[in-house]
Symmetry: C2
Subunit: 338 residues, 2 copies
Amino acid sequence: MSEQNLQILLASRPTGRPSHDNFRLVRTPVPTPDDGQVLLKIRYLSLDPYMRGRMSAAKSYAAAVEIGQVMEAGTVAEVLESRHPDYKPGDMVLSYSGWQSYAVADAKALRKLDPNQAPVTTALGVLGMPGFTAYAGLLTLGQPKPGETVVVAAASGPVGSAVGQIAKIMGARAIGIAGGPEKCALVRHEFGFDAALDHRSPTFAEDLRAACPDGIDVYFENVGGKVWDAVFPLLNTFARIPVCGLIAQYNATGPFEGPDRLPVLMRDVLTKSLTIRGFIQREFSAQYPAFLRDMGGWIADGRVKYKEDIVQGLESAPEAFIGLLEGRNFGKLIIELG
Amino acid sequence: MSEQNLQILLASRPTGRPSHDNFRLVRTPVPTPDDGQVLLKIRYLSLDPYMRGRMSAAKSYAAAVEIGQVMEAGTVAEVLESRHPDYKPGDMVLSYSGWQSYAVADAKALRKLDPNQAPVTTALGVLGMPGFTAYAGLLTLGQPKPGETVVVAAASGPVGSAVGQIAKIMGARAIGIAGGPEKCALVRHEFGFDAALDHRSPTFAEDLRAACPDGIDVYFENVGGKVWDAVFPLLNTFARIPVCGLIAQYNATGPFEGPDRLPVLMRDVLTKSLTIRGFIQREFSAQYPAFLRDMGGWIADGRVKYKEDIVQGLESAPEAFIGLLEGRNFGKLIIELG
């Protein structure tokens, strides 16, 4: 019976905060690869905030997961059986196999990983989608210049920590926002931000103002909510706001209570010549080779550090994901499969 | 006594809609030019929505007019007396002399106009700041591609009419929004937009949807208010929104009644990879020679048309300006001085 495939399906769509009822654990036969495919044993599973969007039926940049489908996710897997000449059993690969323990995949949808070059889990974090989101969004859209001030929230997470460290490499000041003193210490001392601010502090807005005496030139938006309210009045003329996530409002159900902040936003967009730009990293996929080269180099020479929060067992994924949306993870959240 | 300078000063700052009390008409001695300066007789005065911002003390891209100062404005003037070798009496110039009948100006702050090339009033409209706002904002930020849909409001005005006509030249579809059937007829038949919609119609939102069957790729924002609400759900993935004005909210006094539309805006910024970019034309001043060449050519060959609404007498400026903020003008609003 050890040969069964453990899968977590989307059982129902959440209203507001997801609950365990929205997921269903099932056991199915291990699938068999066709020509050009490989059979994979999933070793690591990435949990990321964007998955909340996939659980909803609302139109987005990607199709929703259907009810009864396996939850989507990036995964690091080992090839068990190969029907493609480029892969052999034992190879480690990056795949997009979802919340399950086995999968078949087309060989052309895989990227081979070299465990000697970097720990394979980094392909889900600092050397994967979150790291690339930080790299492409900050450099292409944020365009930090030496001496400018870059602010990012969820700064202990995989996107935020990379944003701040890349900003520092570009010569900018990096101000990180995180939840609680432990995360702030990580941001300040491990990731080397110029300041780390706790958004739970009652003096958070004043703390941010004090940490940004010359205002904010780039706000890398990945959370929304009350962090936005503190950032907004500090934005400088020509500030750039790349938007890659809004985790603080993913569980919210509208309509939203007034006052209406849209007219005030648009007034400042106009009077400060602000740029607000939503993006997903795949828009910039042509930059991926440059990212792997640059980020790989920065990790090798110690200029970029990363932190992973590895949780054991596929069965833990729903609880870990619910916690992720509330900021209970401490670094890049990864599920390690038994 | 004909030698006195008639001036309109900012008497007080408006709360909400400006009133006649906010302006004061005074008579002062005609000023005398120093070396390097000229004495100007103002012939035409431009009235533009941005002046509402200058009447307020709130921080903006330009300093406010101080109480007791002459109201600011672009002007077309005749040189009466010159103490600079480049200018002689009778020359027509573009200056920034404000709401008055005479002014001295530094010669280096002037641009000489050739009345044989184009009517001098066009230097305040289609060949001036409004036309350049349309040109630089649409081409640099809006970047319309052939077959895309461009929407602009205040489409019978100097910015909107130029936006739509340039969009057509670039091969895009141009949808104009204006107030009332007379303005819509001008937009459709004189300016050649593909459709003109009356924002006062009770079916306006549905009319806009019907006129944009493929959604909206560029929304050139110069009004805000309820036009935004109709445009917003129709924006396509990667839509661009250059923001050069928000006339519908210039007279508004916050806080604004809920629901709060900001979370919904940001959600779509993210899921549709929208770009919202505030700007003022002087950011793009390096493009001014190209603008004069292109726009001059398009006017000469009839591809760009314009409409001016010329009101007589400096004393009429306050009432005309109040009307401008309510859309009572019909084309580019200009005061002709006696």
